[in-house]
Amino acid sequence: MTETTRTMLLNAGPAHPAMHGVIRIELGLDGEVIRQADVEIGYLHRGFEKHCEASSYTQCFPYTDRLNYVSPLINNFAFAAGVEKLMGLEVPERCQYIRVLMSEISRICDHLTCIGASAMELGAFSVFLYMIKAREWLWELVEEVTGARLTVSYGRIGGVKADLTADFAERCREVTSKVSEVLGEVDELLTRNRIFYDRMRGVGVISAESAVAYGITGPFLRSTGVDYDVRKASPYFVYDRMDFDVPVGGQGDNMDRYLVRMEEMRQSLRIVEQCLEQMPEGPTNVDPDGKLIAPDLMADLGKFGKTRGLLSNEVLIEPTLQGSEKRFHDRVYAADKASRLPAKEQVYSNIEALMNHFKIVMMGHGIRPPRGEVYFPMEGANGELAFYIVSDGSDRPWRVRCHPPCFPIMAALSSILEGDQMADIIPTFGSVNMIAGELDR
């Protein structure tokens, strides 16, 4: 008698208990072994990029919150930093510290959720409860500063929405010390836990070469031993003043990814502490009185050879540069660098502030970066998060592209899963930390 085998097709998702987030994997199974896997995404496509094209620059912020909704602050700042680069704005030092600080808090929240959820799926429910408890403390802290728990919209072009609260440093230290205690507890519960270890070690392996070929970044890449971290490679804000290590793994399996994330949280706590120590006093937003570079002034600057700042902008103007008519201004330089909304009390009590406010919020006025394009990478919780913004000189972006860090990881997922067992999907998928909001946008 001859034995015949055939692969069994199994659909996991989009509504599957172990798939937090909506995704479908079509599996071809040979017994318990996965022979082929086809990953289907797009169940949470909400037209982020199309929406941004229809909104003014300020209106994009709420949408960026909801990309990676576990670490919305990083998304906010990444978008803001992109627009600022386009406009040639430099945010004040205190604001840069605040951004670093809040990004790191966000990163901790993200890793807590990731590890908590994947541990829960492996049966360690108490770890999930501990992690969410810690995240709740951090969220309360975030709420005190930003006014919201999750969808914060805290970033602004040219700054942040509000300064830190008066007793922030104290509160923050209190919370971070509690969080690091929780990390210690989780470490004891999981790292040497036989069950956990066996399901994580040697499962979901990806080599450094193929991780690079797939364009994977973040903790996922670092677990294979490649130490690429945007915060080190091209430091933005004040990351170059921070003293922190980039943990790397060696085997590129789930266990390494877990360990890398745990260590990253500790490093983030270090950064938070350094920010609190070094943070200067001062304004948190750019100067609200913007300056206008008139074309004739620009020509003068050019005659004196002061072209450095000018060359970085796309200029569309008559060759004589005599186009001093108003309609050319926005093409020459950011028509007005004012990007910050005046204080509400001012708006209600004097006409200048009211006009300023009007100019920024009304459709057809608003913040108008000069024509051009920019790609600004930042280290998101899952890897390189970048916004590619194309401006046509109007108050709405012509194109906003978000490079989502978990997109390449998901692209590689089917090749990672193949050859593993059916049950290994759960830890592997957990360690991908797929966030549907940024994956499908």
């Binding site: 995404i41 797009g42 496509h45 037209g47 990029e49 199309k50 929406h51 094209e53 229809a54 680069k85 386009l86 193929s210 690079v212 070929a213 797939y214 364009g215 970044t217 490649v226 690429y228 490679a233 091209s234 060359l311 970085s312 902008n313 796309e314 051009g372 394009e373 920019v374 790609y375 990478p377 390189e384 970048a386 590619y388 194309v390 012509w398 194109r399 592209r401 490079h403 997109f407 390449p408 998901m410 692209a411 590689a412 090749s415 499908d440 946008r441």
Partner: protein, 159 residues
């Protein structure tokens, strides 16, 4: 070093490069679309450049401008810590570009997304189908002439 990649690229492919610039410190090369794969291979394999990451691949619809579309790739070289943007203008009623999947597997999904959102086809892509939208969806939502609120429901009222 900003600019040095561009010089090298211009020396090697004088006929394929339509223009270069480094505005805002971001190196950008504009290529003829036919040369995309050739140039990308060079960038990836040249021992001095070594652009091993395809970070992002997307497109821009310039509508009313000719050529209408532009394919935009962002490359990153780990060894030089350098970034490079490649742009290829694509025109015509059914725009087409060579696929980069043979160089970087990362291109697979990015190209599917560009196809889904803009309707740009990729020659040599192994499995070009929709990725974010569903099979029944008509049109390409990120094209500027697709109305933002034109729904095509699968269930429920057809509003």
């Amino acid at each position: 070093m900003p600019g040095s990649t561009l010089t090298r690229l211009q020396e090697s492919f004088p006929e394929a490069i339509l223009g270069t610039h480094s505005r805002l410190g971001e190196d950008t090369a504009i290529l003829k679309p036919e040369a995309l794969r050739r140039v990308a291979r060079f960038l990836k394999e040249d021992p001095r450049l070594r652009f091993d990451f395809l970070m992002d691949l997307t497109a821009v619809d310039h509508w009313k401008r000719k050529p209408r579309f532009e394919l935009v790739c962002h490359l990153y070289s780990r060894s030089n810590n350098a970034r490079l943007r490649l742009k290829a203008p694509l025109g015509g009623a059914s725009p087409e570009a060579p696929s980069l999947t043979s160089l970087w597997p990362a291109a697979d999904w990015y190209e599917r997304e560009v196809f889904d959102m803009f309707g740009i086809r990729f020659r040599g892509h192994p499995d070009l189908r929709r990725i974010l939208m569903y099979r029944e969806f008509q049109g390409h939502p990120l094209r500027k002439d697709y109305p933002i609120d034109k729904r095509q429901p699968l269930v429920g009222p057809k509003d």
